[in-house]
């Protein structure tokens, strides 16, 4: 992340200095303002969904979802605590349903449980991040709505290819994670 940050900042600034020096600071500030508005929106989203999740914890829905996903999470995330499995299950469930906003606070908390005080991502945290960054979802509702607005005759015909493509992406991500783990443990020996 450090290297990537330096490259993107430096490359962007250098090009700005040559072609549009007066716009450089504005572009940086626009990014920061975007972060402010995203954070405020996220605060609202967190308040709603963390509240609902608080209710779910008490009414038994949390433990139901955890049991539903247990066979999957047990295999993928070995050695995690029961509490972490609950968070992972709920995050995956929210992702499948396309409730990204509910998935986020759950995902953040799951990573915190996996990491503890470690600064380097654990194998499980890497896997979990990859799954979330590969966009596992079953219903691309926003895109279908956008296409409808743009006058498409059959806006939802992208549904099947999207689902297949997501599944392939996530599978490749998971496979790469396990491949990397294997090569990593070999190197140590």
């Amino acid at each position: 992340m450090n290297l990537l940050f330096v490259i993107m900042m430096a490359a962007g600034l250098i090009r700005m200095l040559f072609f549009d020096p007066s716009g450089a600071l504005g572009a940086a500030l626009a990014g920061a303002e975007n972060a402010v508005s995203v954070s405020i929106r996220m605060l609202a989203v967190y308040a709603l969904w963390l509240g609902v999740l608080g209710v779910m914890k008490k009414n038994g829905v949390t433990s139901f979802v955890t049991r539903l996903f247990r066979p999957l999470t047990r295999r993928l995330f070995r050695g995690e605590k029961e509490q972490t499995h609950a968070l992972i299950s709920q995050n995956l469930a929210a992702n499948f349903l396309g409730i990204g906003s509910a998935a986020t606070p759950l995902g953040i908390e799951a990573i915190r449980e996996m990491q503890g005080e470690k600064a380097e991502a654990t194998d499980n945290a890497v896997l979990f991040l990859v799954i979330n960054a590969c966009g596992v979802q079953l219903l691309p509702a926003t895109i279908i709505a956008l296409r409808e607005q743009a006058g498409s005759a059959s806006a939802s015909d992208i549904l099947l290819p999207t689902v297949i493509s997501t599944a392939v992406t996530a599978t490749i991500g998971v496979l790469l994670c396990f491949l990397k783990r294997k090569s990593g443990s070999k190197r140590k020996v």
């Binding site: 992340m1 990537l4 940050f5 993107m8 900042m9 490359a11 962007g12 600034l13 090009r15 700005m16 072609f19 572009a27 940086a28 626009a30 990014g31 920061a32 975007n34 972060a35 402010v36 954070s39 996220m42 605060l43 967190y46 308040a47 963390l50 609902v52 999740l53 608080g54 914890k57 009414n59 349903l97 986020t104 606070p105 953040i108 990573i111 915190r112 990491q115 600064a119 890497v126 991040l129 960054a133 590969c134 219903l139 691309p140 509702a141 895109i143 956008l146 498409s152 015909d157 992208i158 099947l160 290819p161 999207t162 689902v163 297949i164 493509s165 997501t166 992406t169 790469l176 994670c177």
Partner: protein, 167 residues
């Protein structure tokens, strides 16, 4: 369908809670308490990523990189109309939605580029944003998580373009 899904889901939760005599208001507050702290802790990570992305895009570098990559992408079956979208997709969610609607406008919502673009955007995530958000506050070294996500996403992109030719 998804319009009904979420409100119904929330309603169901409250009903089950009430039936089981859970103190619903207290449980809600207990959960929502964490919201401010969470948003505040994530903020600096989001700010750093979004500033870098904004500089990268606004300086014209994103479209420059897209132009460089275009011939390479064409070999892999990705139409040149989509290269900029593919470069921007992992960096900016709103940016890629903007490019997507532009593609709809320019080529028509039922054209091949429009359908491929829809599938690409629908089947992927804003990788850098997810990494910054989820890792925020805890992960200093990502140990390949971002690279792996980008590779998998790109493989998904190639497959999306292929699938849209078939379907």
């Amino acid at each position: 369908m998804s319009v009904y899904l979420l409100p119904a889901f929330i309603l169901l939760n409250f009903l089950v809670a009430a039936l089981r005599r859970v103190p619903v208001f207290d449980a809600f507050i207990e959960g929502a308490k964490g919201a401010v702290k969470l948003a505040a802790e994530i903020f600096p990570y989001l700010a750093a990523v979004l500033i870098a992305v904004s500089l990268f895009k606004d300086s014209g570098l994103a479209s420059l990189v897209a132009r460089w990559l275009s011939p390479l992408f064409r070999v892999m079956g990705i139409p040149p109309e989509l290269t900029e979208l593919i470069v921007v997709r992992p960096m900016s969610g709103s940016g890629s939605i903007g490019l997507l609607t532009e593609i709809y406008r320019q080529y028509g919502a039922d054209s091949y580029p429009a359908r491929a673009a829809s599938v690409i955007v629908g089947s992927s995530e804003t990788v850098f944003y997810v990494a910054a958000l989820y890792g925020g506050g805890r992960i200093k070294k990502y140990r390949g998580a971002i690279t792996i996500s980008l590779i998998a996403t790109f493989a998904g992109t190639v497959i999306s373009c292929l699938l849209c030719r078939l379907f």
